[in-house]
């Protein structure tokens, strides 16, 4: 099956440091790809290149097989690439609807010419997408500040889904959550896969990876050092790749 998202030889340097060094990965629809690596391995930088936060120094990004210009977060969003960062990037002072529509606010006309925020409409749409993902949040007009970690994660995911994400990038989706909430988020990932969305997960948690990912890519010092199909590998092998003690079977 063809890749919906592909990177070819992505390189990103910060001054003298090469954070990402010629990395090529591919992602198919309905597939979860885990990107693993130690701190400073370049995972986050790679993700930021794909989501338009950083411009790569070399390499290209293909979407649906065609080269795409991604030079800003807006470009990435326009291509259906949504990113959920570890800090979730929610405005805690705003309500659920306002967050789902952040930067893409829904407006309505008043008196024929005045464009005003359609808060009611945004709340209704928020309710629909939350229902679709089977997420329960008591009041949509409450600010994010009043929600739990899992609810916040759910809002962040809903935001991506609402905007018809084809590719969803999740940075440490379960890191800050309790056990029960971790399970819910992983279930949510499965639901999203079933709906044909391609997912890239960055995670330290081996459990998450083996639970929901189909393939995994391991980075070390900016390089892609190995790719595995999850059901054909073991946690030991993966840890070996991450820390660099195991170089056997680099090419499968």
């Amino acid at each position: 099956m063809d890749y919906i998202l592909e990177t070819r030889g992505i390189t990103k340097r910060f001054g003298g440091l090469t954070a990402v060094d010629g990395v090529s990965i591919g992602l198919r629809a309905g597939e979860a790809l885990a990107v693993l690596g130690d701190n400073g391995a370049g995972k986050s930088t790679l993700i930021k290149v794909i989501s338009g936060v950083h411009k790569p120094d070399e390499g290209e990004i293909l979407i649906g097989g065609k080269p795409a210009r991604i030079e800003s977060p807006m470009d990435a969003l326009a291509h259906g690439i949504e990113t959920i960062y570890q800090d979730l990037a929610l405005a805690e002072n705003l309500d659920v609807g306002a967050n789902i529509f952040l930067g893409r606010e829904r407006m309505k006309r008043r008196l024929g010419f005045l464009k005003v925020l359609d808060d009611g409409g945004m709340a209704d749409e928020a309710r629909k997408v939350l229902d679709r993902l089977d997420i329960h949040i008591p009041s949509l007009r409450s600010t994010i500040r009043t929600l739990s970690g899992g609810q916040r994660q759910a809002v962040a995911i809903s935001r991506s889904i609402y905007w018809d994400a084809k590719v969803l990038i999740m940075d440490e989706p379960t890191a800050a959550l309790g056990v029960a909430e971790q399970k819910k988020v992983l279930n949510l990932v499965r639901t999203l896969k079933d709906q044909g969305i391609g997912i890239i997960i960055i995670s330290h948690q081996m459990y998450d990876v083996f639970e929901v990912a189909d393939r995994l890519a391991v980075m070390r010092r900016g390089l892609l050092v190995g790719e595995r199909v999850v059901k054909d590998t073991t946690a030991d092998e993966v840890v070996g790749l991450i820390v660099g003690s195991e170089t056997v079977g680099k090419e499968r």
């Binding site: 977060p73 800090d87 990037a89 405005a91 952040l102 930067g103 007009r141 500040r145 009043t146």
Partner: protein, 354 residues
Amino acid sequence: MSNETKADARRGRAASFLGGHWIYLFLALEIIYFSLRTGSFASLNALQILLYYGVQVFLLSMAELFVIVTGGIDLSVGYVLGFASIISIKLMEWLGPLGLGEPLTVLIGVCATLAVGLIPGLVNGWLVAYLKVPPFIATFAMLGVCHGVSELIINGVYAMGLPKLAADIGSGHFLYVTKGVPPSFFSRPVVDRGVKVLEIVPDIVVVTAVVVGIFAFVLARTRFGRHVYAIGGNIDAATRSGIPVKRRLLGVYALSSFLASLAGIVYAFMYVSGKADGGASLLLDAIAAVVIGGASLFGGTGTVLRTMIGALILAVLDLGLRMAGTPTFDKYIMVGVILIFAVVIERYMPEARK
């Protein structure tokens, strides 16, 4: 739920209600207190004086609110006010001899001043948004620049020579009601000596109310306003969701300086002079009004209505103490106490956000 936790919940709700509404209560108590103490405080006349002399703080505090909601601060508004008061008079003085007639001279003078008044804000915004200069430093520097440039223009004295029409607007009222004569708008009817003319709402209060209304709408109901809150709430989230953060910040600082300039023009119209430090002491009142209104200096919260209530609390205090004949030092002490009170309430009785 046990009775005890129920009582706790009730107390929590009560505290939260008080946290959200104490300013209204405080304003009411203030008005009642001064009415009892001075007798003449509760009158149409006192109300109009209060609003008339409050316009600068209303405008400046709204300017400050937009900036504070983004998590910044604008220290230059007071001296931008002074700068604009001078520029407006100098421009009209220069336009006068061209023979355009007073109305056109005043109109062009006002518009040109508002345009020139955008410059300090655009520079502030550019420094803050694009060069990442901390707002405190950027606008503090601008305070000095505006002060210096203003003094250079007027050589250390006042700017004088405002057209009569402008002065008339500055002291005029929206409506005049006289016994036996049909009510007249904007111009004082000619009456015999001793006939009482009831003056209703100073012109500049009307202008200020309209401007406050417009910007309250902008902050609460428009995309720009939503972005201002988002930037203050989480600037990274705003950036990543595609909000043009730099442009918005540029806009916010420009808007702040625009409102400060408007306050400066109003100052010139009211006092028929332009003064470099005309608004210097108003900066702290403006910030105090915003903070009393419950906005956090870390950004993300605050509304125009509550900021105006904050400004009214200060205005009532100012006029009330004056009418009661107490020295103005009392006001400084009171403002300090209210400010601390506001911040403590905000911290320990946070309003349950909807």
